[in-house]
Each structure stands twice: as C-alpha cells, then as structure tokens.
C-alpha cells in the first residue's frame, strides 16, 4: 500500500495563498490569527480568516457550487501549479483513474445559515436561489472538484470532524492498493461559519486571544479556515518527492467531544501509523501535533506522544500559525510535514510562551533547522476519531 509520493501540493490559509507564504511563516513564526470580525459574529475570539475570499465567484458552468467552502477550495486549486499537475495526470492516467478522497466538517453550511436568516416570514421556505446539493451537502466539495478538474474516478467525502482530511489519505491509499484508481487527489476545505464559532464557544473551547498550544496558560482554540490538496501517486520510479509511508486510525470510545485524558486512543493511532510505515519511533525526527490549545486535548496528546517517543523527538503544533482549520487541519499539516521534510525545518509554535510545566514532550517554541527523514502528523476529532500519518524522504 505504501509508499505513495506526494507529487504536487497546493494550499490556501490565513497566512496567504500558496505554499510560499505558509513556508515563510514556518520560518519566521508569523501568524495568520487576528480578532474575529467575521460576519457580525459576537464571539470574543481570534480567527484565521482568508481575505482573498471576499468578492470570489466561480465561472458560469460552476456557478451552482458557489459557497465559501468551494470558493476556498478553488483558491487553493489555483496555487502552486496544481491545476497543470492534475491536467498532466489526467492525460497520463485517464480521468476515470484518478480518485478524489476529500474531507470537510461543515462543507457549505454558511450558505444555509444565510438562507435561514432569509426564510419566508412563516419560516417554511428558504430563498429560491439556495441550492442544498451544491453547497450544504457534505459531498458538495467532491462534486465541485469533479466538475472543476474534469475527473470521473471514485470519489467520496470523509467527514470525521477534525480528523477528516487526515483520514482521507487512508481511503486513497486503500483504493490505489485495490486498483480502483492509479492516482488520487487528497485534501479538502473548511471555512469559517457561525455554526463552528458559536458551537465551540458553547463548549467554552474558544480562546479570547490567539491560541497558545501546549502553553501552561492555554485557554482554547482559534478557529481558522483553509483548503489544501495533494496529488498522490505510486512511488514506482525513482523520485525525490516526500512520501506517505503509513497511517494509523483509531477511535477513543471515551466521549463525544473530549479526548481520553491519557491519550489512549491517540497512542493507538500513533503506534499503528508507525507499524504501518515500518518506521521505528527513534527514526521520527519531528511530530506535528494536533494540539489545538484546549486544556484536555493538549495534555492528552502530550501523554500519547511522550509514551511513544519519549522526550527526545522535537514536536510542535502549528495551530498558532493557521488556527485550527478543523476538517482541513489534516491536509494542511500533511503539507506542513512535507515542507518540513523538503526544507529540513521543524516548525515552532507561535503565541506559545511558556510550555505547560506538566508536559514531558520536547516541544519546540521556535522553528529549528533539523535533519529530518521521517515525520509524523497527528489529527484528532470529535466522536473520538484519531488519525496519525507518517511521511518520509526517499533514502
């Protein structure tokens, strides 16, 4: 099943459009977080908002897919030569041999939020221009990419909350292994909406200031929006691309919105990912943590990572750069892991000032030049969903 190479990447985050601003931020410690002024939301918090979404529109034949989530996917697709790479792959493999394995948590629900505010006075009908199938429905993102990229291979959308786009790598790897497709586009998008702003606020999980992962005084998450996609291909011929080496998936079976305090489920995902990759814990040079700056979540992950890696492996959460991009976090941090390998750079943790004294992992506050051959990325979500990915360079 592995290795698979990440032959092309594209991304759009609050740090800017494309790989370059993301990589620059990883080097300098820049953050895309700022006070939330999103669409009249009254939640006192910071967000990672993508300014380029203002005034976006889609060309005529795709106009039905217009919604913030598909717009952000479109912005990402336009970056980093990704469209041209997909066009070349389509010629090479055939449109029906490229699978689409995407993830999102809230899809285009923002459009339905708007539609509910514009209901008829008796609240029985939504505005005539509201299109459920192409916006709110969780599959809308994949339908949009099929139409946008001219693909007709197997496609699906994973929606496992904040582990969605990490888990989609597993669907892609299995489908390629089974011969259902020869290559895959993996990734997804999640965008700001009132549902998540007020939802996380109702759980007392949003920080008033920018999030401070693993800080002793951390006080919650900063929600961000992002989209990212990876073209995943078999690694048959020699190459120098970053490779996906393994995946581990588990379920906490503990609580709907709170992780197992000792990170038991996370640890199983981490150990299964290492086993799947045939990589020893001692070979991993950096762990990109899920750590979103919640009290319980960061502590649970510190337990899990320490239990497997001890205190020798550098690790950090990059949520202070991008915010917690929810369903998109898996692919954004897969891309960050690939950049770490490409540029031999372990990212730091902007906004984190003092590491929680109870934590035992070797947590990086600032980015560091390191020799990296293998890195891990963790993504955990509501419903107890855990996923760890192992990436590496060819040896």
């Amino acid at each position: 099943m592995f290795p698979l190479r990440l032959s092309h990447l594209c991304v759009a985050t609050s740090l800017g459009l494309g790989i370059d601003p993301l990589l620059a931020a990883l080097r300098t410690g820049a953050s895309g977080l700022r006070p939330c002024t999103f669409q009249g939301a009254t939640v006192l918090t910071h967000v990672g908002e993508v300014d380029a979404l203002d005034g976006m529109h889609l060309p005529g034949s795709l106009a039905a897919f217009a919604c913030r989530n598909n717009h952000l996917a479109e912005l990402a697709l336009r970056q980093d030569g990704f469209e041209a790479a997909v066009a070349a792959a389509r010629l090479r493999y055939g449109a029906d041999r490229i699978g689409l394995f995407l993830g999102t948590s809230t899809s285009g629900i923002l459009s339905t939020e708007h539609a509910y505010r514009q209901r008829t006075p008796d609240a029985t009908a939504l505005p005539a221009d509201f299109n459920y199938e192409t916006t709110q429905n969780t599959y809308s993102l994949a339908a949009f990419l099929r139409a946008r990229l001219g693909l007709c291979g197997p496609s699906l959308v994973v929606s496992c909350a904040c582990a969605s786009t990490a888990k989609a790598f597993g669907n892609a790897a299995r489908m390629i292994a089974a011969g259902l497709c020869d290559a895959a586009i993996v990734g997804g998008a999640d965008t700001l909406c009132l549902t998540t702003l007020y939802g996380f606020d109702s759980l007392n999980l949003t920080a008033p200031g920018p999030c401070r992962p693993s800080d002793g005084e951390r006080d919650g998450i900063s929600i961000g929006e992002a989209a990212g996609f990876v073209l995943l291909e078999r690694a048959s011929a020699p190459h120098d691309d970053v490779m996906l080496l393994g995946i581990g998936e588990s379920n906490d079976a503990y609580h709907m919105s709170s992780p197992h305090p000792q990170g038991a489920g996370a640890r199983r995902a981490i150990e299964q990912a290492l086993a799947s990759a045939g990589v020893a814990a001692s070979e991993v040079g950096y762990v990109n943590m899920h750590a979103t700056a919640t009290l319980v979540g960061d502590s649970a992950e510190d337990h899990a990572v320490f239990d497997v890696f001890g205190d020798g492996v550098p690790c950090s959460s990059t949520k202070g750069h991008t915010g917690h991009t929810l369903g998109a976090a898996g692919v954004v941090e897969a891309i960050i892991s690939a950049l770490a390998l490409r540029h031999q750079l372990a990212p730091g943790s902007p906004h984190t000032r003092t590491i929680d004294p109870a934590f035992r992992c070797r947590y990086l506050l600032e980015s560091a030049a390191l020799r990296l051959e293998r890195v891990m990325s963790n993504s955990f979500g509501f419903g107890g969903s855990n996923c760890s990915l192992v990436f590496g360079l060819p040896r």
């Binding site: 939020e113 009908a125 496609s155 929606s159 007020y198």
Partner: protein
Amino acid sequence: MMRVYVDGVGLLGPGLPGWPEARTVLSGNAPYQPRDVALPQVAQLPPAERRRTGAVVKLAIAAGLEALADAGRDAHDMATVFTSSGCDGDTIHAILTVLATEQREISPTRFHNSVHNAPSGYWALACAATAPSTSLCGFDGSFAVGLLDAATQAVVDQRPVTLISYDMPYPEPINRVRAITGVFAVALVLTPDRTPHSMAVLSLRLRQGDGGGTAMVEPGLERLRRGNPAARGLPLLVAIARCGDGGGGDVGIEGIDGAVLEISVAAP
C-alpha cells in the same frame, strides 16, 4: 473486480423492521406493507449519553447491532464505515434556527451531535469500539460510496468491516429543497474470506457511465429506494435474500454522477 463475503445483515425501514422479516418480503415470499419505523433506544449507552442521542443515531446503531449479531461478531474490534447523505437533519435544523436569532446561543450537546460522524462516535461509546471508523458522504450515491470503501478496506487490510448506511428526512424548511423519504438504515458485515456465517459473496466493479441502476419491482419499495439514499442498497438486499434459495443475481447500485456499482451476488 473485488470480492467480499456478507456475514451479517441489519435493516430498519418502513415495513422492514429487521432482516428476518425483510428477507421474507424482499425475496417475494410476503407482501410489502409499509409501517412506521420504531427506533429503539441504545440500551448499551449510559443514561446520560442515551438521552443525548437523536433519531439518526438510534437508527444507525440499531441496524449495525443487528448485522453484528447476525454475523456472530463483537463490535469492539470491528472496523466500521458509516455513510449518510444528510446524517442528523434535526440537529442541523435546530442549530440553524438558533443561529438565525439574535441570541445565537446553541447548545453544546447539539453542536457535538451535529458532526457527520456523530453516529460513529456514539457507536464507539455504546460498544467500546476502538477500531478504525470512518464516516462518509456521497449525496444520493452514499450507499454505493460506503459499500465500495468498506469492501476495499476489507480486502486491502484483510479484516472484517461493517458498513452502516442510513438517512432520514430533514425537517422543514430544508425538506423542501432536499426531500428524503422514509427512515432507512442498512448494515452489512463484510469479510475478506468465507466464514461459517457467510450468506453471500459479492463481486464488485465500479462502472462510470450514465446510470442504469437496478430498480425494485414492488412500487412501494421502489419509492423507498428512490427517496432515501441508504435505500439505494435495496436491490443488493434482494439478491442477498435470494441467496438462501440458491439464487442471487447481478444488480447495479446507483453511485455518483451516473456511476453504477455493479455487483454479482451468489451463494458463498
């Protein structure tokens, strides 16, 4: 061509209150008589969690538990693929209604119940299920998408996988723009190798094209099939039901954008 065995079936729908009764109806040995669906409480959950579960969670878990019992399997180490077009429409509607008011104070329980993988989360709590679980969406093709993914996982990872597909109607006003008819869930325990519980063997092939899925002969069941994304799987259940008489057959399950999941069904 991918081959998997069916070791257990669970089913809940109008006039189809479980696999034993449904098998009789679907194999043509009893008339189809639609009746309201009674959704059982999830007895395995602690009372506090039980009170928080919505209808769609009860629906999905009921079908999943029946399939596991049918297959003689334990849920604890069973990988699961949950698939649904809309999942919990009641919860989504309740949140959207509050967000359209000035207060916007949504309930934390409603918020965590609104995630597409809520049935998977409650399943894990009810069954201490720590194995990998995913939750998928393929709009009207959600059943075919889930079945292809579950079968792929069974074959590639060489482990049993349980597919649970479910959908139920949205409340108004979303119901007007996304009509889902009937309450329906189906669960299949798939294994990569034949076991003493195997009741059918499926050979699957995804064909891209312009539609042409198998229809149900009985008009009420055809309305259910066309109205509910999970019920798109009914023709497969007919073929599985007929395997007991040495039948089976070839069916096409509607997928995405005119794709058809072609399945040859035979006694194992």
